[in-house]
């Protein structure tokens, strides 16, 4: 029998490289599979979203200017940090979802591997999706993929960690910044993942993570004029229509994905075409 005091963790949001509580002061309860209390994460409000978008916008041009090599290195660094803390993530996933340890372990390992896989895409994107176009004149004509800007994402409920990584990594690898709403039922690994990000040389504001209710935050993400794209993979199919209509008002590109593939990266890139005179 130990006399130690139970040291409970406060799960907060991750905005602009810091861990603030929600401005609304609201929380909600997370219970384990047997109904026992686990934690009180923040119930983020639309104003937290607004703050996160301001941070993401401020960080975007700097992140976009980082070299592809550098961005790949930083994504790889996230994988390194996650690898070192695997045990904690396994415990959290088992605690919240009640899956077997082996299954949780597989999810965390897959998450690390997925990050490494996305990191590898960074310096290959422009060769694979760009082109040197034939034109009838004394010019070179290039098409290169460019970042879209600030992208919002709704992470799927399950798997909570691997799903979150699929909602973050493909967006940022091409130079976008992201505001992601984590799994509502299992947000703990998302907030622990924020601690991994905070120690991985990711510039403040490039990744911002909120926890809360999808149907409360998604409409504000869709209508926000300063969000350029929206990944709704984690949003229930019933809400897709309303969100697509709200997003159409401001010409937001809205996509939903079923799997992790390079298309997920390219969806949030735009093609820029450059003419350059030959001989100069």
């Amino acid at each position: 029998m130990s006399n130690r005091i139970d040291v409970k963790k406060t799960y907060k949001l991750f905005i602009n490289g810091a861990f603030p509580r929600t401005e609304s002061g609201r929380t909600y309860e997370i219970k384990n599979a047997k109904g026992g209390f686990i934690a009180n994460p923040c119930l983020a409000s639309r104003k937290d979203l607004k703050d996160a978008v301001v941070a993401a916008r401020a960080a975007q041009s700097g992140w976009n200017k980082a070299s592809a090599y550098n961005k790949g290195q930083i994504l790889y660094r996230i994988a390194e940090m996650l690898e070192g803390r695997r045990a904690q993530f396994v415990d959290e996933i088992v605690g919240v979802t009640g899956v077997t340890k082996a299954k949780a372990d597989k999810e965390v390992i897959d998450s690390v591997d997925r990050l490494v896989w996305y990191a590898g895409w960074s310096d290959k994107l422009s060769s694979l999706s760009g082109a040197l176009n034939p034109v009838a004149g004394p010019y070179y004509n290039f098409t290169v993929p460019e970042s879209m800007g600030v992208i919002a994402a709704i992470a799927p409920e399950m798997p909570s960690l691997l799903g979150l990584i699929d909602s973050i990594a493909p967006i940022i690898v091409g130079g976008n910044t992201v505001v992601v709403l984590a799994s509502t039922k299992a947000p703990l690994s998302a907030m622990s993942f924020a601690e991994v990000i905070a120690t991985s040389d990711v510039p403040a504001g490039v990744i911002n993570i909120l926890t809360g209710k999808k149907d409360e935050i998604a409409p504000w993400m869709a209508s926000h004029m300063d969000i350029d794209g929206f990944d709704i993979s984690g949003l229930g199919a019933k809400s897709h229509g309303a969100v697509r209509i709200a997003g159409a008002e401001n010409l937001k590109r809205i996509y939903s994905f079923k799997s992790a593939d390079p298309g997920r990266i390219l969806a949030f890139l735009e093609n820029k075409t450059v003419w350059h005179p030959i001989g100069l």
Partner: protein, 315 residues
Amino acid sequence: MSFYGLVDGSQASLKKYLAALSGVDQTGADARAAMLATRSIKITSKRWAIDTAISMVDLTTLEGADTPGKVQALCAKAVRPDPTDSSVPSVGAVCVYNDMVAVARKHLDLIGGAHVGVAAVSTAFPSGRASMPVKIQDTQDALDAGASEIDMVIDRGAFLSGDYIGVFNEIVQIRELCGSRAHLKVIFETGELVTYDNVRKASFLAMAAGADFIKTSTGKVAPAATAPVVLVMLEAVRDFYQMTQTRIGVKPAGGIRNTKDAIKQLVLVNETAGPEWLTPALFRIGASALLNDLLMQRMKLDDGYYASPQYVTID
């Protein structure tokens, strides 16, 4: 000059007047400013607050790289902050360096902005390190070019070394020069005055010397218009009103970049000096980036969704 019967212009009387001031409780001022910053403003009041704040902005550009073109663009924005919405009020004034005053005045008159004033920063802004004849000539230039408001800096070195009468006499001379042609705003650069006691002292010194406005900062030094400093200055104008029945204006400048900050300033004014000060004639906010954020928050209230900086002008 009357000096409101508070001082007779001699060193002895000024010393006595300043020595009689009560000290500022620094912890109390910090706590009160922090407490007032937590006031929640509801949507209906917010709309009023945003429009009031816009009408109080002294839209400022004080860069070495200012060009006539940039100043003209600033003037256009001052008259019609949102070209797509004519219900947005004009700002209080544009604030420019002396050599741009004529450009600004001419352009404002040309585009229907005769009601928008031109404020000139004078007396060797921002350091105030020049001889008195130079400062007088500097101010004279601005007045001749059509400035309706003069933002002068005090000699902080003289103030900090205790030469209060020197600072006082400089303000008196510039006040005389302005006469009825221009309002005089006196800039303390509170970031260099070190203590709240000094801020209060400088406030009373400037008010007795004839300032129409007292202004926190040049915008070139940080910290600038922090909430406790503005609180101390608002308490000073409130106390001065009780002594003399004269209302002196306050202008925080520097560091007020978003709507939240601006509304906090309005709360400070209302709760400290009183609602009589909630007019551009008695309260101004020196800012440049603030105006865009006010416009974006105004759009949010109108449209129901968050706005993007891509829909307001870059300046």
